[in-house]
């Protein structure tokens, strides 16, 4: 909780900066843990229910833990017309999960985003922080191969 206190410190314990605070906590822990939210609630005197309301309203926040790799599929208009739905459905079939879910072995979390603003690369899949442009359904297998377990151990 020290790290969370430091985040609260950074924003001067101002209740109005709560969204920035949650953004930072999410970055730190990859999702909003219940104990973290309870801590923030006590420190800033914000009801836990209000934090829950914010955490569920804004799509950047997640209340569930994330897999080792975050696979984000851009579903912006440019990606859509260039074939993003086929890429997404291939990923769903391959990982056997829907967007927002995590594989049972905790390796991958699948997510969609509305637009990354890098439309020249459409359709785009971002794995962790790495952009993969012009992705098509047949490239999905090779793309995931780069993140399979043996390599992830290094």
């Amino acid at each position: 909780m020290d790290k969370i206190d430091r985040i609260l410190e950074k924003y001067g314990h101002q209740r109005s900066r709560i969204i920035q605070i949650l953004n930072d906590i999410q970055k730190l822990q990859t999702y909003l843990r219940r104990d973290a939210l309870e801590h923030v609630s006590r420190r800033l005197h914000i009801p836990l229910s209000r934090l829950y309301s914010l955490a569920t309203f804004y799509s950047a926040f997640s209340l569930k833990p994330r897999g080792k790799h975050l696979v984000t599929v851009c579903m912006g208009t440019a990606c859509h017309v260039r074939g993003a739905p086929a890429v997404l459905s291939r990923l769903e079939d391959r990982l056997k999960i829907k967007p927002g879910e995590t594989t049972t072995d905790d390796e991958y979390t699948l997510k969609t985003v509305n637009c990354l603003g890098a439309c020249a690369l459409a359709p785009i899949v971002v794995v962790d922080e790495e952009y993969h442009g012009q992705t098509t359904a047949d490239k999905v297998e090779r793309l995931l191969a780069g993140y399979e377990k043996p390599k992830a151990k290094n």
Binding site: R15, S16, R17, I18, I19, Q20, L22, N23, S53, L54, F57, Y58, S59, A60, F61, M75, G76, T77, A78, H80, V81, R82, G83, A86, S89, R90, D93, R94, V113, N114, C115, L116, G117, A118, C119, A120, L121, A122, I124, Y131, G133, T136, A137, D138
Partner: protein, 611 residues
């Protein structure tokens, strides 16, 4: 103070490496490192300097490297090209043809950036500094007349004079609705009360629009300068810049820029010794499209869920924390320094009678030259798509262009010569919006596009008012049914009816405009709806439930590639023999069609008429 020393040093050549999001995704930072290494190896460090700049706009061709002062444009530069590039051009002075832009295989390479059609037809005001300066170094912005407008405004103009100037310029909000900026400022200025705020709306949520991201990444100081001028005119001392969380690079550069501006006394207390105080802070969004609506955005800055509230009162009366607040978007703010510096007359000489200046469009989708273009208002769609955008890839037929994001509509081929301004787009059933232009070709299904947008607005609807919450859901339901081949007679009329109701009775802009994609696609592409409903057929071969994949026995070479790649083992056939697809097993993922070698092109998509 490293930058100060650098400035006094003269270099023979400058290499500008684009570091916008698109090029960074194409590993432009590796290109920069490699260039520096190679330059050091050839002992050219004292003669040549490598700079990373903001987005050049021609994202399709990234990573981009420009050699100045000659303006030689290199595109799609790869790591392995660097030794050759350094040796030939930088050392021996022979520009490398293979890395230049070539409009088509038959034509000769175009060496200079300004001779390339994509750049030649543009008129840069907001993007004036794009790709020519390092956005993380304030001195470079100052070197290109940066903060001169602020100095002029603070020392030689009264707030009233500034507002008059902005009014005469005819500048209208670039975020979508097109409200006259000068009038907005005047309303806020007139409000009593000592505490006022200004906000920069950088919550660029329209999918396919990324001009605000690019401005913030390439030239953050132009926005900050515009805001400082606006603050002086309105009488505000605190500003907020709200940026969506999907833009990490823009957030980073903006934060650096604000700190530097403060260091140089261009923000903070007693700016330029004039006694005027102004501070600005960055606020990061958290992924909610509706926060682009001004009252929702204000709620979000206040730390609440971003749900819009009814207007009036408008933010100019009661905005952030109940105080008078002026909101403009990124592109609007970035116009201000140029209007102050060069004058309202100059600005208003560009554009049409009611829409002045330029507009940035992001040209994306089925277009050869994807990228950002800044053009004078009044230019025709045809010139943007064909002269600048280079037309449609693979010789396909143009079908429509979607403007205005989820609030906009689809404009058909018959309106290609429409001069673009706020009024003409609204009249066509679309809107200017933030300036996204998504080009669609014959392979795009317009019913699927309408469903895509409605699905988007339905997910992003905040749920506060029932017409939007339920109306969008219902439209998605009907559109979904149509694309699955379960459309019924009367569905089109039913859609039109809900659309009209949602439009008239929704609380905010999101709901009021949500039906535009449906209404315009019905208006201009009714035949496609009818094909789906009556014939259970998707003419563009997009809707999964209405198409199937087959292998043309006359073309199949029996190479087995499709069978090997099929993830659901639906393809059978031996080597050198014709393959067949088991329709029961086929999941229609389309992999077979993309792996089938082009010498055969045997896999076909079909959508037969079903009664």
């Amino acid at each position: 103070m490293r930058s100060r020393r650098l400035r006094t040093k003269e270099y023979r050549l400058h290499l500008l490496v684009c570091a916008g999001t698109g090029c960074v995704a194409n590993r432009s930072f590796e290109i920069k490192e490699e260039l520096e290494k190679e330059i050091a190896r050839k002992h050219l460090n004292d003669e040549i300097r490598v700079i990373t700049t903001g987005c050049q706009g021609f994202c399709e061709r990234g990573p981009i490297v420009i050699v100045q002062p000659d303006g030689i444009f290199y595109q799609q530069v790869k790591k392995r090209d660097i030794p050759h590039l350094v040796e030939e051009h930088l050392l021996k002075g022979r520009p490398v043809k293979e890395l230049m832009y070539t409009p088509s295989p038959r034509e000769t390479p175009v060496p200079r950036m300004m001779d390339i059609d994509f750049f030649r037809h543009q008129r840069l005001i907001v993007l004036r500094n794009r790709g020519r300066l390092d956005p993380e170094n304030i001195e470079e912005y100052i070197g290109f007349d940066g903060y001169q407008a602020l100095e002029k405004a603070l020392t030689r103009m009264t707030p009233e004079q500034i507002i008059r100037e902005v009014k005469i310029s005819g500048l209208r909000g670039r975020g979508g609705a097109g409200f006259p900026t000068g009038r907005k400022w005047e309303l806020c200025r007139r409000e009593r009360g000592r505490k006022k705020y200004i906000i920069c709306n950088g919550d660029e949520g329209d999918p396919g629009a990324f001009m605000d991201r690019s401005v913030l990444e390439a030239d953050p100081h132009s926005v900050i300068e515009g805001m400082a001028i606006g603050a002086w005119a309105i009488g505000a001392h605190q500003g907020f810049i709200y940026v969506r969380s999907e833009y990490p690079l823009a957030l980073k550069r903006l934060t650096i820029a604000l700190a530097q501006a403060e260091d140089y006394g261009l923000l903070g207390d007693d700016i330029l010794g004039t006694g005027f105080d102004f501070n600005a802070d960055v606020v990061q969004g958290a992924g909610a499209f509706v926060c682009g609506e001004e009252t929702a955005l204000i709620a979000s800055i206040e730390g609440r869920a971003g749900r819009p509230r009814p207007r009036p009162p408008y933010p100019s009366e009661k905005g952030l924390w109940g105080k008078p607040t002026n909101i403009n978007n990124v592109e609007t703010w970035a116009n201000i320094p140029m209007i102050i510096l060069r004058g309202a007359q100059w600005f208003s000489s560009i554009g049409t009678a009611k829409s002045k200046g330029t507009k940035i469009f992001s040209l994306v989708g089925k277009i050869n030259n994807t990228g950002l273009v800044e053009v004078p208002m009044g230019i025709s769609m045809r010139r943007i798509i064909y002269d600048i955008g280079g037309g449609i890839p693979k010789g396909k037929e143009f079908k429509a262009v979607q403007t205005g994001g989820p609030s906009g509509g689809c404009i058909p081929r018959t309106l290609l010569d429409l001069p673009i301004d706020y009024e003409s787009l609204t009249q066509a059933g679309s809107m200017m919006g933030s300036g996204g232009m998504i080009v669609m070709d014959e392979d795009t299904c317009m019913v699927d596009v309408a469903r895509y947008f409605l699905n988007f607005t339905q997910e992003e609807s905040c749920g506060k008012c029932p017409p939007c919450r339920m109306g969008t859901k219902h439209m998605v339901y009907v559109l979904d049914r149509i694309t699955r081949g379960q459309g019924k007679e009367g569905d089109i009329e039913f859609l039109e009816q809900i659309a009209e109701n949602v439009k008239l009775s929704s609380l905010c802009g999101l709901g009021q405009t949500a039906a535009n994609p449906v209404l315009t696609t019905i208006k201009y592409f009714r035949d496609e709806y009818e094909a789906h409903i009556k014939e259970k057929r998707c003419p563009a071969l997009v809707c999964k439930e209405l198409i199937s994949y087959t292998i043309d026995a006359g073309l199949c070479g029996g190479c087995t590639v499709c069978a090997k790649n099929c993830p659901s083992a639906a393809i059978s056939g031996e080597a050198k023999k014709v393959h067949t697809i088991d329709q029961q097993k086929c999941t229609k993922c389309g992999i077979c069609i993309s792996v089938c070698p082009s010498k055969f092109s045997a896999v076909k998509k079909v959508s037969p008429v079903l009664k």
